[in-house]
């Protein structure tokens, strides 16, 4: 329930700004599916038409609900953190996690629009690159699966992928190594519902990502490279 509400709030924020159009094109493989919470399929439908005035009202209402539920979710984060093992000691956490803080700061920024494709072989037509100052807004036609390419132009790097809550995706590539637990809610901006995943990439390449049907459409995405 909390995720549903929070995601709706995020969507409201997201609609405050018009996405910037871009063209975008990268390569492929299979394995390592990773999943993030998907409870809020419903509020996906509320996505587009939220107006500024309504947003304020929505915020008030949802802040209340959010507050009520915040405590419920805390343990979830804790549990996930406990599962993470290696990541717990490596990733900067709390106030020192500048990547997460930066991603949160970007949630309401003007997004770069990327039109994802619905045919896997065309994934290179929708490109996303790590960027410390870009929030992407991905959208696609229909309500089925969608695909895009994450281009990683570096070796042995860790990327932090912050996606809007409710988005489920998987790398169609065996060479993207998941470091963090699944579905971690970004502790820096829980109200935005942004989730936080950490991946290790051993070699530079384009990685095809499949966004599962039922994910919010559009959704926001931030990719930060550590180091």
């Amino acid at each position: 329930m909390r995720l549903v509400v929070l995601a709706a709030f995020t969507v409201a924020c997201a609609t405050k700004t018009e996405p910037v159009e871009t063209g975008a094109p990268g390569p492929t493989e299979t394995g390592d599916p990773q999943t993030i919470e998907t409870e809020e399929t419903e509020e996906t439908e509320h996505t587009e038409p939220v107006e500024t005035e309504e947003t304020e009202e929505t915020e008030e209402t949802e802040e209340t609900e959010e507050t009520e539920h915040t405590e419920e979710t805390e343990p979830v984060e804790t549990e996930e953190t406990e599962h993470t093992g290696e990541t717990d000691t490596e990733a900067p956490l709390g106030a020192d996690d500048t990547y997460a803080a930066s991603a949160c700061a970007l949630v309401e920024a003007k997004p770069v629009a990327v039109t994802a494709v619905t045919v896997e072989r065309d994934a290179a037509m929708a490109l996303v690159l790590p960027s410390p100052d870009t929030v992407y807004e991905l959208s696609w036609e229909g309500d089925g699966d969608a695909y895009f390419t994450l281009m990683i132009p570096d070796w042995e790097v860790t990327e932090r992928i912050f996606a809007q809550s409710g988005v489920t995706y998987e790398f169609l590539s065996a060479s993207a190594e998941l470091k963090s637990a699944e579905g971690t809610l970004n502790g820096h901006c829980p109200e935005s519902g942004m989730t936080d995943q950490e991946y290790l990439f051993h070699a530079w390449n384009g990685f095809t990502i499949k966004v599962h049907a039922g994910s919010p459409n559009p959704f926001r995405l931030v990719v930060h490279q550590e180091g």
């Binding site: 063209g23 975008a24 072989r121 065309d122 290179a124 132009p153 384009g206």
Partner: protein, 385 residues
């Protein structure tokens, strides 16, 4: 087939630039001596310098790019990305072309018919910012030159390569040396080449059938000559330069439109009929250079065949949907064909037979900064930025 290809290869050089007789080329037996600009004659010293520079990260402003990182030997001297990515992590509009056998390529790049000189072309990724900053040296030339004057083996290498210069460490000399090295990266020992030279067992039966199918389908009309990158003229000879063709990859508006950021030759000529026309790439080493087409949006060779078989690509979704088969600017010869599973398999075997896998590990072309057992990412020369 062998006779035709060998004869056509002789027309690959640009007449204005004669072969360089003063350099001992180590070429495949059936390759002609490449044309070399008189202003930049080949020398062993220059090639050596060029090889070090080609793989040196000091040639990018932030030490994160080298020529060789985007033209990686193991990937057929391409980068594996759909489109190139510059130092600022901004995507280029087009796919990184291979630099193998580039000495025989003319003109260069995907859509500029006036760019024939490697020395000139090198300045685009090195210094340019259009369409993106690639290596980022533009505006920082002095900084990069200072690195080369003071670091690594360069003072000696430059002095040896340009013995008449008081100060040979210049952008112009860098371009000349890298161009000289690139002219030596010639790969011609693929199974197809061995077959061409008389080894009937070098190509599998399937690859031979694929070669026949390739010709029968008319693919060789654009991918002709020894390097499979020249159109065939009406009299059956190979054209002196690569052609530019619209292959029906897009039709975003039903009127022949291509994505606005990358419309092909029309951006140079202004002629609407040139919309979507890009230079025909060589098919040598093609199995190693995925992904394909000018913007890298076709992931496999099988997908390429699918698109040609239907007479153009259908883009069903995304930012640029449309049916390229209906593109009014499409080359009229791309009409589609029936492709059986057996044909597809044979053609893919032929493409593999065009690939000289061994040459992609040829020590002459390797990164000189790498020890033999270093993983790829450790092949970085010391840099003091």
């Amino acid at each position: 087939m062998r006779r035709v290809v060998a004869a056509l290869a002789l027309s690959a050089c640009r007449p204005a630039d004669p072969p360089d007789p003063g350099y001992v080329w180590d070429l495949p037996a059936h390759f002609p001596v490449p044309a070399v600009p008189a202003s930049n004659p080949m020398t062993t010293e220059k090639v050596t310098l060029g090889r070090f520079l080609f793989y040196d990260f000091k040639l990018s402003i932030d030490g994160r790019r080298s020529c060789g990182i985007c033209h990686e030997p193991a990937k057929g001297f391409t980068d594996g990305f759909a489109v190139a990515v510059g130092v600022e992590n901004v995507a280029h509009d087009r796919n990184t072309p291979s630099t193998t056998n580039v000495a025989y390529r003319s003109p260069l790049t995907w859509r500029d018919p006036d760019l024939w000189s490697l020395e000139e072309q090198l300045l685009v990724p090195l210094l340019g910012d259009d369409p993106i900053v690639e290596m980022g040296v533009g505006g920082h030339e002095d900084e990069v030159l200072a690195r080369l004057r003071s670091q690594g083996p360069y003072p000696d290498l430059f002095a040896d390569a340009f013995p008449d210069d008081d100060d040979p460490v210049t952008i112009e000399r860098i371009a000349m040396a890298i161009a000289a090295f690139e002219r030596t990266v010639n790969t011609g020992a693929s199974p197809f080449d061995q077959h061409l030279l008389g080894d009937d067992g070098a190509m599998s039966d399937g690859a031979k059938r694929g070669a026949e199918r390739f010709e029968a389908l008319g693919c060789g009309q654009c991918h002709g000559g020894l390097f499979f990158d020249r159109p065939i003229e009406g009299d059956g000879t190979v054209a002196g330069a690569s052609g530019y063709f619209n292959t029906g990859l897009y039709d975003v508006d039903g009127m022949g439109g291509y994505p606005p950021n990358d419309q092909g030759l029309v951006e140079v000529t202004g002629d609407p009929a040139d919309t979507g026309r890009f230079r025909t790439p060589s098919l040598r080493n093609v199995a190693a250079t995925t992904p394909y087409m000018h913007d890298g949006t076709t992931p496999t060779l099988s997908d390429v065949l699918t698109d040609y078989a239907r007479g153009g690509r259908l883009v069903a979704s995304g930012a640029y949907p449309g049916d390229g088969a209906g593109n009014p600017y499409k080359d009229p010869r791309i009409t589609g064909f029936v492709l059986s599973d057996a044909d597809r398999a044979d053609l893919l075997l032929f493409f593999d037979a065009l690939t000289d896998w061994a040459s992609l590990e040829d020590p002459r072309f390797e990164d000189p900064w790498c020890a033999d057992d270093d993983p790829r990412h450790d092949c970085v020369p010391p840099i003091d930025l």
